[in-house]
Symmetry: C2
Subunit: 215 residues, 2 copies
DNA sequence: GGGTGTGAAGATTTTCACAGCA
DNA sequence: TGCTGTGAAAATCTTCACACCC
């Protein structure tokens, strides 16, 4: 049985909400309230959870801590995961800043850049290295995820180096589609395409309100 | 007839590829090659295009320029759109940098921040203003899209100000889910959730390879 | 009453088969 | 032959109905 991307995306959102609920001390949460938060129906939430294979929660809703723990185990989100950033330009270092103080299960523990001078200037708690050390450091520290924030022209090459060092998951901020082999999970964070999506959705939605456009 | 988000997302990717193809001087492209690029099947590409309502391209594939123009009209991606950024911290200014030199149909023409001192230091060609001017500037310049890059605690309030100024589409970089009214299109760029998705997908995929986990 | 879990029904999306064009 | 465009079939996803529990 194959779990769909939509299901995975929704349960990840559920997991994020559970982290919040645990922090604020909420003990139980119903499928109805989960659904409201992540923007779907209670049926879909229950079905998703059932598909993931986490069950046995009768009566008063899902007990937040236990549910989070069990869901996290199935999704491999329970233990901290380490990540690295390739490219410490403005985007790369903004991401570092952004993640450095968050408590969300991901640890960015290394950064790489070709510009050695830049490395000296970066004021951050994570360790930064020249790109030539990438393979070694990733293997040595057992880093699992890679974030690409290099210029467009170097993105494909960077991806290949990350993969050959053993990275299995890649998040790409460079505005280019990468050629990635089977088995590696790869996601684009493409600002332009997101803006396109918003515009296009606005356009098709408006068209519908106007009563259909000769279609 | 309602066009699904998946279809919109795919045709947006097609549109982005067409921009590239036009730049490199490619004249014709087939549904098969579009499919290969965006990672789907040729049937889906043709069906999507048909659903959007752009037809009449027989024989040797889609003529890039004409096809891009007609698709762009349907999706409202033909004319340049203006956007603004709320929050000029590290993420906000990284986005400015990133977009300033790109030629992709979106123009970030204003930035807002509460910290007046910061405004003086920002070295960019776009105009930056204190948040108090937000409503006026957006209305005056007819800005259509808003990018939220403020700290988590101010994100909801910022969204409300953008919407009351007339913004219809919002891209949110703050790691919090916003409460947004019907009719406004809203998309999260959530780094943590993207990393979760990659981890979870890796986990479910691996599980499958191992032969199923008692499900 | 309020809640979960799940098979079956219903709706939607994707795939396919093939008409039609040059 | 190589391609688009689309109705119909197949596959998938979502919703529902209801068993079961407190």
């Amino acid at each position: 049985m194959e779990i769909s991307d939509n299901t995975i995306e929704r349960v990840c959102k559920v997991f994020g909400y559970l982290e919040y609920l645990e922090q604020v001390g909420c003990e139980y949460i119903s499928s109805k309230n989960l659904a409201k938060y992540i923007g779907t129906t209670e049926y879909t939430v229950r079905k998703d959870i059932s598909l993931i294979g986490v069950t046995g929660y009768d009566r008063k809703g899902y007990p937040v801590s236990r549910f989070k723990r069990e869901l996290g185990e199935k999704l491999d989100l329970s233990k901290e995961k380490s990540a690295c950033i390739a490219g410490l330009g403005r985007i790369g270092s903004a991401i570092l800043d952004y993640e450095e103080f968050r408590e969300d299960g991901f640890n960015i523990i290394a950064g790489f850049d070709t510009n050695i001078n830049k490395l000296e200037r970066i004021r951050t708690k994570i360790e930064v290295y020249p790109v030539s050390c990438m393979e070694n450091i990733i293997k040595q520290k057992g880093i699992e995820l890679g974030i690409i924030a290099v210029p467009t022209g170097s993105a494909q090459n960077t991806a290949e180096r990350l993969i050959s060092a053993g990275i299995k998951g890649i998040l790409n901020f460079a505005p280019v589609k990468l050629e990635i082999p089977e088995g590696i999970i790869y996601l684009d964070m493409d600002l332009t395409n997101s803006l396109r999506f918003i515009s296009a959705k606005l356009a098709t939605q408006t068209r519908k309100l106007k009563g259909g456009n000769d279609v």
